[in-house]
Symmetry: C2
Subunit: 338 residues, 2 copies
Amino acid sequence: MRKRRATDRPTLADVAAQAGVSSITVSRFFNEPARVGEQARARIQAAVEALNYVPNLAAGGLASAHNKVVAMVVPNISGPIFAHTLQSLSDGLSSAGYQLLLASSYFSLEAEERAVRAFFGWQPAALVLTSRHHSTGTERLIEAAGMPVIETWDLAQRRQPYQIGFSHRQVGRDGVGYLTARGYKRIAFVHNSAAGDLSAQERCEGYIEALKERGLEPILYTPAAEIGPLEAGAQALEALMNRSRARPQAIFFANDNLACGAVLAAQRRRLTVPGDVALFGFGDYAFADKLLPSLSTIRPPAREIGECAAQHILALAEGRTPPRQVSLPCELMSRESA
Amino acid sequence: MRKRRATDRPTLADVAAQAGVSSITVSRFFNEPARVGEQARARIQAAVEALNYVPNLAAGGLASAHNKVVAMVVPNISGPIFAHTLQSLSDGLSSAGYQLLLASSYFSLEAEERAVRAFFGWQPAALVLTSRHHSTGTERLIEAAGMPVIETWDLAQRRQPYQIGFSHRQVGRDGVGYLTARGYKRIAFVHNSAAGDLSAQERCEGYIEALKERGLEPILYTPAAEIGPLEAGAQALEALMNRSRARPQAIFFANDNLACGAVLAAQRRRLTVPGDVALFGFGDYAFADKLLPSLSTIRPPAREIGECAAQHILALAEGRTPPRQVSLPCELMSRESA
DNA sequence: TTGTAAGCGTTATCAT
DNA sequence: ATGATAACGCTTACAA
């Protein structure tokens, strides 16, 4: 009988010995305190504090096949978009004793699959993803998951994983509704310079739809692909305002970075905003209210998505069945630029 | 002999059976592939793919007392400051197969202690903190940690945990150096409106030191405590510019939020920046280059701290001994406002 | 190069 | 209310 303990940290057995009870009673002390007697409870409490005991969660998880961890994959942590969702998810979970495992995919399906595969090794209580497009390997893993999978941000038609997000199409419609209500008729839409942004494409479709319903003509502009978003926004403003015919009165940008580029370009070119042209974004990034003029935009329910995901996970852990799909409303931020 | 497996996920034994070897050989296949024979390796590889096997990391961690997880506590995830450190730490670790466990403390020592205690249960390979001030409970936990603890961002004199950060005092000195080199003599410093920001206090000390060396007089201003940073910055600009004597030519703000408030206030009041007054911040937040005028500031090595922490952790995992304390340089971002 | 046995620290199951 | 025992899935120690 060879011992091979690597650390000298106290175990459940140590606490039990010190408290004069068996290990399982100490286990119950943590998991079902009501089932432990008055005196035993007091003695265990004292032993736990004396030994500064912290339960080994890996061992507990192995025994119970139920780890209090939730794994999340986001495209990036430091970007303006997902941090709020991350924050509120983490907060909602930590109050229930769950930990958050995090990885970023940088919009790469391969990186996402690697992360998901690694996460699976921890048998998390749930897996939260930030997209609905996955590699086939990821899909395979998800199918055999044995744990709830929550796709956030976008909403898709499929029914397999849980979905919590908002309607990008509605964002496009709402933007147009706001701008037409302010009297603008010739409204342009500027695409994301980064290709493959399917969500932005949906916003554009909503924009076109809403315009057509009002008998207005879409004006589309796609910036060069190689340039950054700020330059792309400036380029779009330049190109659209130099038009001789159908020069837009308002420009709806695929995101706030583009809109910001346009606001800055307008400043430097002494264009009056919204007098000469109204500018409208999407995202409500941190700088939106700090620009001059401040940027009118649509705030996605980033925080709310994280909160809702946390509630879903806790509900599932308790055996309740949350709705398969939740669509959360965006908020229109009416500021100076439009 | 009662079975109580909760999932139907394949185990090492299943793979071993399918490949016609023993479990330990499959274990070696993952951990020391070189020690497994050519044919066995091929058969195991096939079995792993056929079963879509993912190793149970909790079980592995329990057996080896060595979990490939790193835990980090940040004050907040979504703020402008720590996200980059988080991102680069996560990236540096994930390439080596480590996962990141995350919690936020909201600058609360109690919340930090709760997070650290919960993390301990996972026996992570390292614990990364974002401050050097902890509750006594946290200190107790850290002492008995049995794992490396890395304090990031600030640097302190103690030698117990590893430290990776930068000198706030030097930031204060560098700001003054830059401003005096641009010809400004009367330079004010505006404190953080949020009390208890000891790092900002250190920057202020560096500012005073550098001024004294040049025979200049410090001008200090502390905004009201209850107001937000943008309002505080505006208030400071107002108060300092309304002075009849010793009106500053330049203002050095404790952070970019304050400076941003001043930039916006200057815009609306038609004050010329830097003509009437130069404005200088700290942090290089995302909006700094998007303001009008763009904000001159000092960029802390946020990304570099995360990278360095990741390297430290990987070095320690290999038995190497990284330096106890690393001081990383900040970068002065010379823009329009000063 | 491969295998056997035991043990990691906890919880499920069954028993009292 | 409390306990004895085995099991969770893997790795270490030792052996062949």
